[in-house]
């Protein structure tokens, strides 16, 4: 049968919608269904049902054709944010019980005395000290007190803990004590999962390692249950293909690996957008420097592609930076700001306009939703300016109330600033654009990318409102709005590979390089990668080695790819040259007389999934016809503007601005007369040459 395993699907569960992208013969289709917060798997089955109905087949038959099912979930993230994780204990080296409490110090607003000091991830009352000590060189300064550990196990049982995290100082250099603790825990607390820091995250800096260990342990009971339940229900519904989980590092992992290390999936939400953004920017424009902006209802997530690679960070936070909890593991670098369609506009006592940080979210939502929200939001401003179709919002699933939007914008912003409603709405969008630009500038500055030379890819349901203005403000080459932009993350999951990351803390300095020691560490990493490849059916495995390196006295490392699998004479100089070049690119200067320190060595292994390398194109079916609408255009005021459904734009046609391009889930606003839009090879909308609105 032609139907056999001919489909690949991917599901992204967001706060409002569960997105499904279906790929068949390199063509993508997009489906959205409301998220079911109490039973997310039901939401998945619902949206799969929509796709099956569109094909005119029962769900079981549809699922029977699915070769792989990739899934991004915010379930682990939400559990951490709401404290709904397992009752978890932390075991630390004696004398250092406050590693999670102290974090790494710092305070964001030095004049704010209303914010309390943040709580540790594991309370002090569930933190237990282990009598032992290892030095920086791995020497045992104090042997492990096994008798005391047995007594501690008694306390853990008494405290009815559901998971245990173990993070001892210098376990990355000498793991013997952590391993011994693990053996005792397995024997004394059978059925209670634990995580050992050296096995999960063998990296320097005890706070980060302890935090990742504690988060991972605390997720184990919950995520095992979720993944098991998901897999079982999909199988019962007819799925025979493979189940894959999206990871924070921008790859996918087999569900069994995700169960063993549930923290791998914690930032999976935004990690796929740059994978898709990279594919579209390359397919449509051949670009390898890309800014990917994913605009949802409440947040604006910015990710990057630098020379075709997606930069990662080990400083990712769950919750607010500095007061949340650091995941400590390599994760796609994302800058998120609270700027979205629901962001509330207001004027302060000194007469200054603000947008956010409060958001009306989807409930009660913008004033124009008519769901009880009355505050003026970005969506209301867009409606006042004629950018949204009140009769057909979000693929016709909602109608909007223009009078309510006008009243809110006039009352909250126009009146206090002495502006007419259109002027007030423009001001709201302009300030929102500025906030989005700020987020982009922050992450591009950190990663050494010139926004003016990069292509901007706009995704997410709210992308189209500001994307042209953001691109103009940045001076970007071009703007690409993929046809599946409203489900960029789900599309990305179909373009990603099976990945894993391994690391070894073996410090080295180029002025006194211990080649034997380093090469042994690299050989160990390569062996672990090959073991991963052997377990993973797939093709075209690739392994990349990196050094986490810096100049002496610096404290933050740069990730430098290695050109070799083992160092030979001469290779060290070449590595130094690569480091200087990377330092100059990211930080503007290089110190070529200085040696380079390596803090740790990383290996990233990637096994390509069938079909993930293909160019995925999309043509959306849309029954709507071209029309006109009153909308605001810079220099012309409210005027008649052509409205073009994306499906009516023919390949090769150049559509001049001003124009509103509508696809089922988003509207792209081109509110100037200098920009033009056309279709790219993948079916994306490409916009060139606008002025700042």
């Amino acid at each position: 049968m032609a139907s056999e395993a001919s489909l690949r699907v991917s599901v992204d569960i967001g706060g409002t919608f569960t997105d499904l992208v279906v790929e068949r013969e390199a063509r993508l289709r997009l489906f959205k269904s409301p998220t079911v917060p109490d039973d997310p798997v039901l939401g998945i089955l619902n949206v799969l049902g929509m796709a099956a109905a569109a094909d005119g087949v029962p769900l079981e038959a549809f699922l029977g054709r699915v070769g792989s099912f990739a899934h991004a979930t915010t379930r682990g993230l939400n559990a951490v944010l709401t404290g709904a994780t397992a009752r978890t204990a932390l075991l630390t080296t004696a004398g250092h019980p406050d590693v999670l409490l102290l974090r790494e110090g710092g305070r964001r607003d030095p004049f704010d005395f209303t914010t309390p000091f943040p709580e540790p991830y594991v309370p002090r009352s569930l933190t237990f000290e282990v009598d032992e000590r290892v030095s920086a060189t791995g020497a045992v300064l104090r042997p492990l007190d096994l008798a005391a550990l047995e007594r501690t196990c008694g306390l853990l049982i008494e405290a009815e803990v559901e998971a245990v995290a173990v993070c001892l100082l210098w376990a990355t250099v000498n793991p013997a004590h952590e391993q011994a603790v693990g053996e005792v825990l397995t024997r004394r607390l059978p059925g209670v999962p634990h995580t050992l820091s050296h096995a999960l995250n063998p990296s320097l800096r005890e706070y980060r390692r302890a935090s990742s260990t504690a988060i991972d342990a605390s997720l184990k009971p919950l995520m095992s249950a979720y993944f098991d339940g998901l897999t079982a229900r999909l199988r019962a519904a007819g799925l025979t293909g493979r189940v894959l989980m999206v990871t924070s590092a921008g790859g996918v992992a087999d569900v069994a690996d995700a169960i063993a290390m549930p923290i791998l999936t914690i930032n999976s939400g935004p990690s796929m957008a740059p994978v898709a953004g990279r594919a579209y920017a390359f397919t449509d424009l051949g670009a390898d420097e890309v800014i990917v902006a994913d605009a949802g209802g409440t947040t604006y997530d910015v990710t990057l592609v630098r020379k075709g690679e997606i930069p990662s960070t080990r400083s990712a936070w769950v919750g607010a930076e500095g007061t949340g909890h650091m995941t400590g593991l390599a994760s796609i670098d994302v800058k998120s700001v609270g700027a979205g369609g629901g962001s509330i506009a207001w004027v302060d006592s000194g007469g200054l306009l603000h947008v956010g940080p409060r958001s009306a979210g989807s409930v009660p939502g913008p004033a124009c939703y008519g769901r009880g929200g009355t505050a003026a939001t970005v969506t209301d401003a867009a409606l006042v300016l004629g950018y949204l179709d009140p009769d057909s919002f979000s693929n016709g699933s909602m109608t909007l109330d223009p009078a309510a939007a006008l009243a809110a914008v006039t009352r909250d912003v126009g009146g206090p600033l002495g502006l007419d409603p259109v002027g007030a709405a423009r001001a709201i969008l302009e300030l929102t654009t500025e906030q989005m630009v700020r987020a982009i500038e922050e992450i591009t500055l950190q990663q050494g990318i010139d926004p003016g030379r990069a292509v901007l890819v706009g995704g997410g349901g709210a992308a189209g409102l500001n994307a042209v203005a953001v691109a103009a403000r940045l001076g970007s080459r071009s703007l690409v709005v993929p046809a599946v932009g409203a489900a960029l993350a789900a599309a990305g999951a179909l373009m990603s590979d099976l990945t894993a990351v391994y690391s070894a803390t073996v410090p080295a300095v180029t002025s006194a390089f211990d080649t034997g020691k380093v090469n042994r560490a690299l050989a160990g990493l390569l062996a672990r990668c090959r073991e991963f490849v052997a377990r993973m059916p797939g093709s075209g495995a690739s392994i990349t080695l990196y050094a986490e390196a810096r100049y002496p006295q610096q404290i933050w490392e740069l990730e430098v790819p290695l050109r070799v699998r083992a160092f030979e004479p001469g290779d060290v100089e070449e590595f130094e040259t690569d480091f200087h070049a990377m330092h100059r690119q990211i930080l503007g200067i290089a110190d070529e007389a200085s040696p380079v320190e390596v803090v740790s060595w990383d290996a990233r292994v990637r096994v390509a999934l069938p079909g993930s390398g293909a160019t995925l194109t999309t043509r959306l079916a849309d029954p709507r016809r071209p029309s006109m609408r009153r909308a605001f255009v810079a220099g012309h005021g409210m005027t008649d503007v052509p409205v073009r459904p994306l499906a009516t734009i023919a390949p090769g046609e150049r559509v001049p601005g001003p124009v509103l391009v509508e696809s089922p889930f988003t509207t792209v606003v081109i509110a100037d007369t200098t920009s033009t839009a056309e279709l790219g090879p993948s079916g994306s909308l490409i916009i060139n040459g606008g002025d700042a609105a």
Binding site: R107, F117, S135, V347, G350
Partner: protein, 598 residues
């Protein structure tokens, strides 16, 4: 006598509405952030890249502080304006391509270890439009001993730092290399200084370039209008904040611990007057001792800034910190005063920490006396052995090492809204500094950090309690180390406010090989041999409001989490706990009614 009032801003430029003002304020914030990011990431010394002890700001041509970024507050409130105006005094017509090095505490800088670079932003017609300033604490500044906080300096000559009272270091964008050669002959680890100098200069030049680009885009007329309207906005917000406060006057006093050159310590006081009708707050520091033969004297910049921090810590924190809001605070200082305007050649080597923290603390405590639910208790202070410069020879490599460790901050103050911030460090830093990782410190130098944890029962008790101090114990791993620091608060602890109690005093001790504990000097140097350990307990922050008004549930939580003992809950907070550690309402009521009837 002086005040923070600046000359009136120019009345020129386009008038902006609240929307345009918001957009342009974002652009200026972005410029300062870009300057800061450059400095942090390219800096080589730990004090820059780890502790982030630096600041960047944009000033108007007249020298008003227009936009500041994330930085330790002691850097950027009441000093950059003095520095920018001293630049105009010596160089009335600055030119494009100029850059000036400024570290003189007698001309508006904080202290000699903070090297500032000022760059005038000049348009194509040669008109001076703005000034950008980047300031960074140096790892060394040429002092006579290897520390940048020299408490024992009797005067600037003994201190020994090179002083640059607005010295041109770039002309037409080219280095004045003779100045740099002088620095390299005098500053320790010159290549590190050179790297940090480049980072500071680069930061100022990036700010200059970004302002020129912004002017290309929107025009100088709009930027002038923005500067005027943004300062007026800051002033309007401050006016509204002060008008909401109760009227009153309070005088508060404290005493710095005895130090080299001041065997009885330094008693100081502040009189704070809140005048809601006028929308003004006045801080009078004139009734204080003359300058002292010690590095403790405050510079004019740190005197004013410490007073401003005390005020701004006590009001709505969303009021912008610029010259507009500063216009509503009058700080009265006296010439030749230890917390006023220093008279050359008295030394200001430790002007950003010790007495500056004391001044800010008594100002915010005075605010708490003027009205209920305002002000703040005293923030933990002192640079204890947990923030020492440690040095010695690393037996693993045979190489000498010297480095400041930052492993145990002081506790924050209780306030009207919240308990104290645990990793506050001190008032001048505002808690912005980062804390060292134990593993990083043990990798960098041959030490073992045996313990680091909060010290129970050291918090200033209160309705909102201060944060406790930390207890830190470390020693060499083979060999000997020397530790130099400059503690305060081990004799005169941090006071509470509004009926709150003081935090526990700090302590510095040595644990001998046989385990006995022996007190050590308040400043060091202390030599610690193999097998010995240095023990530091940092200052607890003061509490806010009477302890017996603290929510019993919060007290029970503190006991359960090990922040305080059950005995302290009962004796100080008057909370009775049941066998499960939950508050016993009847028992608590009995304890508390007995207190009230006392």
């Amino acid at each position: 006598m002086t005040s923070v009032e600046a000359p009136a801003p120019g009345r020129t430029g386009e008038r902006l509405d609240g929307a345009r003002l918001a957009v342009l304020s974002h652009r200026f914030e972005a410029i300062v952030r870009r300057m800061s990011n450059t400095l942090a990431r390219s800096g080589r010394s730990g004090v820059l890249n780890t502790a982030r002890d630096f600041s960047c700001c944009v000033l108007t041509a007249a020298g008003e502080v227009l936009m500041t970024g994330d930085s330790p507050p002691i850097h950027v409130m009441g000093g950059p304006d003095l520095q920018a105006r001293s630049m105009l005094e010596f160089y009335p017509r600055p030119r494009a391509g100029d850059a000036f090095l400024h570290n003189s505490p007698y001309h508006g800088n904080t202290h000699a270890a903070d090297h500032s670079i000022l760059v005038p932003v000049v348009d194509d017609d040669g008109v001076h439009r703005f000034t950008v300033l980047a300031k960074a604490h140096q790892a060394d500044c040429g002092n006579s001993v290897p520390t940048t906080y020299m408490a024992s300096a009797r005067d600037v000559y003994e201190e020994g730092a090179l002083i640059f009272p607005v010295v041109r270091v770039q002309d037409a964008y080219a280095d004045c290399a003779d100045i740099l050669r002088m620095c390299e002959m005098r500053i320790r680890v010159p290549e590190q200084w050179r790297g940090d100098y480049l980072a500071v200069l680069g930061s100022a030049r990036i700010g200059e370039r970004a302002l020129l680009q912004l002017a290309d885009e929107v025009g100088w007329n709009t930027l002038s209008g923005f500067a005027r309207d943004w300062l007026d906005y800051g002033e309007a917000r401050m006016d509204a904040a002060i008008r909401a406060l109760p009227e009153g006057v309070a005088t508060t006093a404290t005493r710095h611990d005895p130090f080299p050159g001041v065997p009885d310590g330094v008693p100081i006081q502040a009189t704070v007057a809140v005048r809601p009708d006028a929308g003004m707050i006045e801080v009078d520091l004139r009734d204080n001792p003359d300058c002292v033969p010690s590095g403790l004297n405050l510079s004019e910049a740190s005197s004013r800034t410490a007073a401003l921090i005390g005020v701004f810590n006590s009001i709505d924190h969303t009021v912008p910190h610029n010259q507009g809001s500063f216009r509503r605070v009058r700080v009265r200082l006296r010439d030749n005063c230890v917390v006023g305007i220093p008279r050359h050649p008295f030394s200001c080597s430790v002007a950003t920490t010790n007495l500056a923290n004391r001044v800010g603390n008594i100002v915010q405590r005075a605010m708490a006396e003027i009205g209920t639910d305002m002000g703040l208790a005293e923030v933990g202070s002192g640079m204890s052995p947990s923030e020492a410069v440690v040095s010695g020879v690393d037996e693993r490599t045979g190489a000498p090492f010297v480095n400041q460790i930052f492993i145990g901050p002081n506790g924050g103050a209780g306030g009207p809204a919240a308990d104290g911030w645990l990793t506050m460090s001190d008032l001048g830093s505002g808690g912005t500094l980062l804390l060292d990782s134990v593993e990083i410190d043990e990798l960098k130098q041959p030490i073992v950090i045996h313990r680091r944890h909060l010290a129970p029962d050291t918090e200033g008790a209160g309705r909102h309690r201060g944060a406790p101090g930390l207890e830190v114990e470390y020693g060499p791993l083979g060999g000997t180390i020397a530790a130099i620091y400059a503690n305060d608060g081990s004799i005169n602890p941090m006071m509470g406010a509004g009926g709150g109690l003081p935090g526990a005093p700090s302590a510095q001790l040595k644990r001998e090989r046989d385990g006995t504990l022996r007190p050590v000097d308040i400043c060091g140097p202390v030599h610690v041999e193999d097998g010995e350990r240095l023990l530091a307990r940092t200052s607890g922050g003061g509490g806010y409001g009477p302890p017996h008004t603290r929510e019993p549930e919060a007290v029970a939580r503190d006991v359960r989490e090990g922040w305080i003992t059950a005995a302290r809950a009962r004796e100080v907070y008057l909370v009775a706990l049941d066998a499960d550690g939950h508050p016993d309402p009847a028992g608590t009521a009995r304890l508390r009614s007995a207190q009230v009837s006392d």
